[in-house]
Amino acid sequence: MVTAVTSMGRSGLSDWLMQRVTAVILLAYFAYIGVVVVSGVDYVAWSDLFSQTWMRVFSLLALISLGVHAWVGLWSVFTDYFTERMMGTAGNVIRLVAELVSGLVMFTYLVWGIQILWGL
């Protein structure tokens, strides 16, 4: 069995399942946001919507889902293209740097998102 320590859940099945579940959450979230926007929304209504706890929870769930989904997807892309097989030993360095940078970006977005949602 091939081992991988940088994948989301260390197991292919767990990564696969997380990607599917997060995709459904993201679809539901953006479909809802789409409906709200299309049905017409002003600042007051928008502000009211995001002041409700359930909407903040839903938004945070979507934000975490986005991070997980992006990690599983990008990790697949990085381990396809930035590899020793494709680029020589430089591939390993580039892959680790790419993983680190995308991890940092996702973490930053998450903290920033919490800050925005709860108006901290």
């Binding site: 069995m1 091939v2 991988a4 292919g12 099945l13 696969w16």
Partner: protein
């Protein structure tokens, strides 16, 4: 005259591969691609490729014809030729030994990984292990694979990770034994597949289904393996 462009590479003479243009007189007949390759070989005996049964059974002559993998012996010119031009290349993703011949070691190593043989730890019966017609039917569409490698070498996931992703051909065989009612090693087989590469590098793009000369469906078999892993783990 059919315009054929054929991939040439002899590592002992050429510093790098090149495409050689050849004209072949097919006399207006809808020949098989292998017939055309034989005619080219008659003109230039150094052109090299694998072939054997010439009827789609042995799986030796898998090549890339106008960008699509297939068996040269059972692919008619009318199916692949566009604008009277035929481009012949070796199967993509594997190291080229010479001209259209690729080194299949990586492909076979993945096949070996799935232990493509029946494993049964119960005492052997006096005559044979019986199987109901219903259980036998589950193997249809799985056992017919001839290991021509057309599917695995059309799969980008296999191109990028041929040492870690088992590939459609190997996974089809893996499921052939997972689905066999006489095999008792299901748990051991599944536990070897639950990593991010062996099975889960398949993103379901179905290039394998598109090119299989035997009309098999590795993507469906991979889906069944995934479901077995999911059922086992949840």
């Amino acid at each position: 005259m059919l315009q054929v462009s054929i991939y040439r590479y002899n590592p002992e003479l050429d510093s790098e591969p090149y495409m050689q243009d050849v004209q072949v007189d097919t006399a207006g007949k809808d020949l098989m691609v292998l017939d055309v390759m034989e005619m080219i070989k008659a003109q230039d005996t150094t052109v090299t490729y694998r072939r054997s049964c010439r009827e789609g059974v042995c799986g030796s002559d898998g090549v890339n014809m106008n960008g699509v993998n297939g068996l040269a012996c059972v692919t008619a010119l009318s199916k692949v030729v566009k604008n009277n031009k035929l481009v012949l290349r070796p199967l993509p993703g594997l190291p080229v030994i010479r001209d259209l011949i690729v080194d299949m070691s990586l492909f076979y190593a993945q096949y070996e990984k799935v232990q493509p043989y029946l494993q049964n730890n119960t005492p052997a019966p006096a005559i044979e292990r019986l199987q109901s017609p219903e259980d036998r039917e589950k193997l249809d569409g799985l056992y017919e694979c001839i290991l021509c490698a057309c599917c695995s070498t059309s799969c980008p996931s296999f191109w990028w990770n041929p040492d870690r992703f088992i590939g459609p051909a190997g996974l089809l065989q893996s499921y052939r034994f997972l689905a066999d009612s006489r095999d008792t090693a299901t748990e051991e087989r599944l536990s070897k597949l639950d990593d991010p590469f062996s099975v889960f590098r398949c993103h379901g793009i179905q290039n394998c289904v598109n090119v299989c000369p035997k009309g098999l469906n590795p993507t469906r078999a991979i889906g069944h393996i995934r479901n077995m892993l999911l059922t086992r783990a949840t």
